[in-house]
Subunit: 279 residues, 4 copies
């Protein structure tokens, strides 16, 4: 299990996202409240966008005491940030297994798991575009899932590509007798739009929330300092709420894709797209 | 806050100490039950004795997923083992800040803190024997405490030396207006005898336990497999019980020094020894 | 490029192999003499055998200043040791990319490269036994090569299995237009016998040496202390000589497999075994 | 031994300093040409200034394969950068021993050593301002030297403060019978001015160079791409030349302090300032 957060809106200092909120992602690295596993100490990462392209900083240390993370987050400003703290489900703690993963301008991060990954790994790996296959550097289900989504056209149409990747994972899992092949919340972005997905075969998915309009909240809580650091167009999608403000967060429904652009979000139904019609 | 365990008795495989018990130290690295802080993910270490002298393995990774620790613990056998998982109270996560610390044949580990360490650090450092001063490699209160105990004769008379070191810490703390200068459980050994201390200025010390005679337990729980891995002379001193067996653990009383030799233990009253009589 | 050494004979302290010789593997981690690249600072590892099975210690730090390596090598004794220092040829510096690799009782290490690995990686991965495929944890050519050898029966007949794996690599490389698909020295063992291979498609292989009988050397150099630490049955196969003793080392010829058992060695011709007869 | 570079001038991308030059600092981390020791693989660090204050990124990995360094250097732009690759002279490889060191807005880095550091460490530590003493986090001579300079007024008058710190090191060394107590090139800055020092007790100091006016060079080498990335006001002080351009670098003379401000530099004689007149 892992925890993640994605931000899009006016440029912010990463520190204001990662350290300032009461239940920030750094706090969640030690004490997640809603997760299966309270500790997410098996590495972390964050990705961002600026005039020099896509930046990525990943490390195998626990996030809570990492000095370089503390330091960099006080200097990096970006209108779009993905951040992740990891709890390994068995794969090694190494930088290439830390999220977000990157391909060109695209970033990807995942909470959850492909069930019985050892059993299905080879079949899924064979489905990856041979051109993309050697780009897989780590050993996680999450990175392989990303490369399946890329194979199915993530860069052209993310909801469709993810639906087809999930469809394949469902099919391969069923072929291997896995009752619930996938459990996922995913965030992916090209640096402009953010797509977040909540889905699981079982219909009991990992938690996911997005924020209510900041200007509404600010009217409601005029004294809250965190809200004054955020612009009106700030949009956050998070594994769990970053604080206790009543009414600040809405749960993303099961089987949903949230499409976020600066100042707007749209919720679409999401489900696996089966590749081969079952005759 | 940290968690530790010390073993003396017939040689055991370190794995049987660190991984097999239900509430083993590795489990405590993720989920300590009795501590101030449930996660002890800021490094770990273990020290042991064999025909080649004192061995030491320390690392800054969390213990729970460290493969080298898993591996080595399956190959190292020793009649005396000290092991520690760390939760930093502010000092950097680095190997030289991991316990146990070593001097010649002696090992030392500590749970707790010298309160307001920044304020008193220099005065305490000046009290260290100038010959020993350059041996201090890290930046923790625990390592400095060890070097104070060495300065006051740890190698000749451990209870007296630790009492004098604690006396100095109390005095220096009071001089700086610190209400409760020290909080400690400590284990130290020369490879033959094990001394464990429980003390705090406040009289509310970190938890410490030692095991009840193994043969008694085995009679009581004839089906328990862990007990069959331990010889009759096995003696454990631990931050918290390694399992749920009723009657298996006794709390070490406040202000006590436990002296453990193979097959025997002795409890002595312990308190700070003031260096300068207050006139 | 990397450097490695393999030892078989009477049990030795690993320290005597890794640190004592004038041009020890630790020295070679900083200043290899015969290699393409003098620095081998991208991780290291060693594997050994004792009553508890196969042990493995691997780390991403440079070997020359690693304290845990220094420490462990002073406590581990074994009749069969494989040790490796790594210079990455592009794949990430992570523990799962450090040699030796292990499968059951078998260890494997490699110096050299599968040429144009990105181009041929997928085809080679598909040739790995599906049962073994999910065991591949890292991203190196060397680990994949090991799993090919396992696929082709390494555990039953090492020279034949390695010859078939090399044959496949040659064929796949040629299919992708790679002029010289492989460059290799390899050591592998089941804990009793050691097989070492020297081969390259180009016929200009990485250096490899084995030692001359120790008793002969001891007669020749009665004052050499290193020789007195080694028993008569000591056999070493190394990337480069561990010292300057004239007459102590023999080069392993090109296209050769050396089979070493305690006190004996045998040199066999080695070359790729083509899987499909070219008609 | 270590290698370092300091830049001041129009804001540059750190990548252009660290990776682009033919003999860049990253190249020197593997193959320094002029140093006592060609490999500087025991950690690295760089510090910079931007609108958010002083940034610092330090790591214990070798610089040559560090992905986070590669990544960050492609996103950080600064008018003043200090960068350092380390070869430990015995103190542990840990982040708190990596350069640059920081105090408030000040950065400090050092190549060389305080000779017989174990012997003189305590006397020097006692001379540090008690307020600053607990800020010392690592165990290097370089960090202690920095805190001595701060004690002697670095923030008010750097050349005088460094001269007094060096004077103390000379005196303490002589008192302990050390023939040549110090060997140093040092760079320090408050974010606006850069001070670089070259000095050694022996009068045979580590190498140090500064660049010739860029516009002159550009006229001389109109086709050199590196020169076109640098503005006319670019000033570099480096352990060794970053390339082969004839006439591009001037050696800093022995016993000299170079004071660099954007577009200008001044060379001052430098020597130890004795604290107590010898009667």
């Amino acid at each position: 299990m892992c925890r993640w957060m994605a931000y899009t809106g006016s440029p912010v200092l990463v520190e204001d996202l990662l350290y300032v909120p009461a239940n920030s992602l750094i706090v969640q690295s030690l004490h997640a409240r809603l997760g299966v596993e309270p500790t997410n100490g098996d590495g972390f990462g964050f990705g961002w966008y600026d005039g020099d392209g896509t930046g990525l900083f990943r490390s195998t240390e626990p996030a809570w005491n990492d000095r370089n993370l503390r330091e960099l987050s006080g200097h990096v400003r970006s209108p779009l940030v993905l951040a992740h703290v990891r709890a390994s489900t068995g794969t090694p703690v190494q930088q290439t297994n830390c999220h977000p993963f990157r391909h060109g301008r695209w970033l990807w991060m995942h909470n959850g798991a492909i069930t019985s990954f050892r059993a299905v790994k080879r079949d899924l790996a064979l489905a990856v575009d041979p051109e993309l296959f050697p780009d897989i550097e780590g050993s996680t289900d999450s990175e392989l899932f990303f490369h399946l989504a890329l194979t199915f056209g993530l860069e052209a149409d993310p909801p469709t590509a993810v639906a087809r990747a999930v469809g394949l994972i469902e099919e391969v899992g069923q072929r291997h007798g896995v009752p619930f092949p996938i459990q996922m919340t995913v965030a992916t972005t090209d640096g402009e739009t953010l797509w977040a997905f909540r889905y699981s075969s079982e219909g009991r998915s990992r938690s996911l929330f997005h924020n209510v309009d900041v200007s509404t909240l600010r009217a409601q809580y005029p004294d809250n300092p965190v809200l004054h650091r955020l612009a009106d167009d700030a949009r956050l999608v998070v594994s769990e709420p970053l604080g206790e403000l009543q009414g600040a967060w809405r749960e993303v429904p099961e089987s949903t894709c949230v499409v976020v652009r600066p100042g707007s979000e749209e919720l679409l139904p999401f489900g696996p797209s089966l590749l081969q019609p079952t005759s």
